[in-house]
Amino acid sequence: MGGRGSSYFNRSGSMRIKVSDTYDQDKPTNNRTRIVEKLTKRNVQVMASTDKIPDEILTPNLKQLDRIMSRFRQYSDYAEVENLKVRTETFSNPNVKACFRCQIDTFKRPEIIFNKSYQRDTAREVETQVQKQIEIGYWTKSDRQNLLVHTMTHEMGHYVQRVLTEQIAKQRGEVDIRARNPLQYDDDIANEMRTKIRSICKNTFHTTSTTSIYGTSDPYEFFAETFSEMLTCDNPSDTAKSLEIYLKGEK
């Protein structure tokens, strides 16, 4: 939330919403499990701040990250991407479960940050929380066996979208345009992606694109929510199938 130990006031000025920033102090974990070693070879660093997350939560999520990195090599092997770090921080807003964060102008310091609150959870509790959000339509659906990795998959959706945006800017010769106003450029590309995915849905499946309540928040969350559904459901919606078509080359 805003980077380096950032904080900000809400409108009334009465409450600061903060996130700690231990990026520079956080060292790679000494728990060199097989999955940690495997991810290291994929340029993913699992950091020591994750050590206190129960293994029954951390390991399945790291395995999911590995599966996504393997399936989407065109993004995970993107040469201009720094090592992705998986970390934890303290969010003063307990509603923030995780986030993907990166520099806006260059692809530096990409990280998936989980809220330290995961340290107090059990796998069952995480699954129950996710199930609840799916049942009320707030998050996109996931199959029961994938509830635990729903959030990691969502955050990887943000990562993939960011790499895609960098690639599109390069392919179109718009790197300089993006450099002048990366926030606006990325907003425009995220909107364009949403429009194209919806168009694929209409033209291919003759249905109107749907997403979760949270996925309607903005085009970035639309992408991440749809991405999560695409990878965690055996029977995804037409919108999620449309994203798959989009990623296969309708860009």
């Binding site: 939330m1 805003g2 980077g3 380096r4 950032s6 900000y8 809400n10 409108r11 009334s12 919403i17 996130v19 807003n93 307990p94 509603n95 923030v96 479960k97 995780a98 986030c99 993907f100 964060r101 990166c102 520099q103 806006i104 530096k108 310091r109 929380q129 959000q133 009320i136 707030y138 959030t151 969502h154 955050e155 943000h158 926030l183 909107n191 949403r194 309540i213 949270y214 309607t216 928040s217 903005d218 085009p219 970035y220 969350e221 639309f222 991440a224």
Partner: protein, 71 residues
């Protein structure tokens, strides 16, 4: 990723979807607490995305659409 549905989404009369921008806007029926919830939601969302960027909603009126007619 945010866990709980924000308060402003609890009443369909309080918000609309801006289809062009793909995001929620408030209606003029949204009470103060819904406006507060909207600000917190979008500031949290935007500020969790990038390093060294600070997004603030300066004027909530920029995010409110009129649904009632002036008398």
């Amino acid at each position: 990723m945010l866990l709980e549905k924000p308060l402003f989404l609890n009443n369909p009369e309080w918000y609309v979807v801006d289809d062009e921008k793909g995001r929620y806007l408030l209606t003029d029926k949204a009470p103060k607490e819904a406006q507060q919830s909207y600000i917190e939601f979008y500031e949290t969302l935007e500020n969790s995305r990038w390093h060294s960027q600070e997004f603030k909603i300066k004027d909530i009126n920029d995010y409110i659409v009129k649904t009632t007619q002036d008398k």
